[in-house]
Amino acid sequence: MTLHSAFPAAPLLSVSGLTKRYGARIGCADVGFDLYPGEVLGIVGESGSGKSTLLACLAGHQVPDEGRILYDGRDLRALPETERRRLSRTDWAFVHQNPRDGLRMGVSAGGNVGERLMAVGARHYGQIRGKAADWLGRVEIAADRIDDRPSAFSGGMQQRLQIARNLVTGPRLVFMDEPTGGLDVSVQARLLDLLRGLVRDLGLSVIIVTHDLAVVRLLADRLMVMKSGRVVEQGLTDQVLDDPQHAYTQLLVSSVLQV
């Protein structure tokens, strides 16, 4: 039975015909996919391929011009703004490439995590602090740093703090925009390990935008390749990387330097 529940029949997110234009220019065009609970979807493509625009539309940061986004069976574009905001506080999380965009730099680490809990109604100080401390532990930030501000943290620690802040409210869907970008490779590996464990243990669904093919190979179940705003290829991650079908994907894969 546990096996069955790990492979639910209905998608958590179902996207079709999603299009966003900036004037005459295309941000992304006719994007469609289903994301199931517990699945990690990678989106790769070079700068300007529309992957960040797509993520912003999905997360509700931008309004698409056309298309449909069903979340848990509900049409997001038809939802009232208040309901969308509630979802973005409770069900969704967004991990930015630059932790400064996702953290409050003037507030302590514990406060950064606790603030999200208060936003969904938590009021008991002791419980909020306890839960914040628990999450700092999960992302491997030492307990004695709870009262320090993120500005005193290294880049890798800031990124882990951002993840704790985002996951403390128990979201079901996490958007990540280049979460390992700008980090040293040793720090990247630690973050990848952390993310994999969290996805597995919490059953998170994740959409991760990156240009790092090594990161998606280790993290993503499925992969979508974008070029000029369109999805040129999608499939199982190792199939897209090992047997790419589209000319652009072949170029992308063959351009990676071997270590």
């Binding site: 590996a189 199982l236 199939q239 090992d242 047997d243 079908q245 000319a247």
Partner: protein, 227 residues
């Protein structure tokens, strides 16, 4: 358990003038539960290509690849993901892991993915690592710094952690010493005894003769030969 019918494969090299390379046509074979079938043929004849199509990281151009009741040639990605977790195991020649993750966790992961109790998963991983003679002091370290033979054994331990009904083995005894080679061959025999269907590539002829019930020469599946 594994049934391949009229399978074909070609590669289109878009960045090399759109050259189309037909590499396989009319491939067919079956592997019954408890049976081990070895693929033979010269280097470049398509043994690995066939294995990868069964694993699903190479797309089939035509035909069918049944593993249990799923046709991998036509399956949705999420069906293949599920098949790989529950039914189909793969011991490749290379270990691909997140750096920094301890060896014991790397081996236990397929079980953790299935929701096995973490203590039981680690106990199973420890048992396999011990059988494969990986010293216990290395279990807490990442295998990325291990020798080739040690990495291969970690890979084998990981591949055998969950008792899959179907198993793909790509050169499982390559780069192993006699003692560890014997352990791996015993693991394969045990998997057969519990009913696993195994498809493998073995360059080690003695190993092949010992564990394989039948051999299939993939040279017969090259398009020129089929024409």
């Amino acid at each position: 358990m594994i049934r391949i019918e009229n399978l074909s494969k070609s590669f289109t090299l878009h960045n090399q003038g759109g050259a189309v390379l037909p590499v396989m046509a009319g491939a067919g074979l079956t592997v019954a539960p408890g049976e081990c079938v070895g693929l033979t043929g010269q280097s470049g004849a398509g043994k690995s290509t066939l294995m990868r199509m069964v694993w699903g990281n190479y797309l089939a151009a035509g035909g069918h690849i049944w593993v249990g009741d799923l046709d991998i040639a036509r399956a949705e990605p999420r069906q293949i993901i599920r098949l790989r977790r529950e039914t189909l195991g793969y011991v490749s020649q290379f270990l691909r892991v997140v750096p920094r993750v301890p060896t014991i966790e790397v081996v236990a992961e397929p079980l953790l993915q299935l929701g096995t109790d973490p203590a039981a998963a680690r106990a199973r991983a420890a048992d396999l690592l011990a059988r494969l003679n990986i010293p216990e002091r290395l279990w807490a370290l990442s295998p990325t710094t291990f020798s080739g033979g040690e990495q291969q054994r970690v890979n084998i331990a990981r591949g055998f952690a969950h008792p899959c009904p179907a198993l793909l083995l790509d050169e499982p005894t390559a780069s192993l010493d006699a003692v560890n080679r014997e352990v791996v061959l015993t693991l394969i025999e045990e998997a057969k005894a519990r009913g696993a269907a195994i498809l493998g590539i073995f360059h080690d002829e003695a190993a092949r003769a010992r564990v394989c019930d039948r051999l299939v020469d993939v040279t017969g599946f090259t398009p020129q030969a089929a024409a």
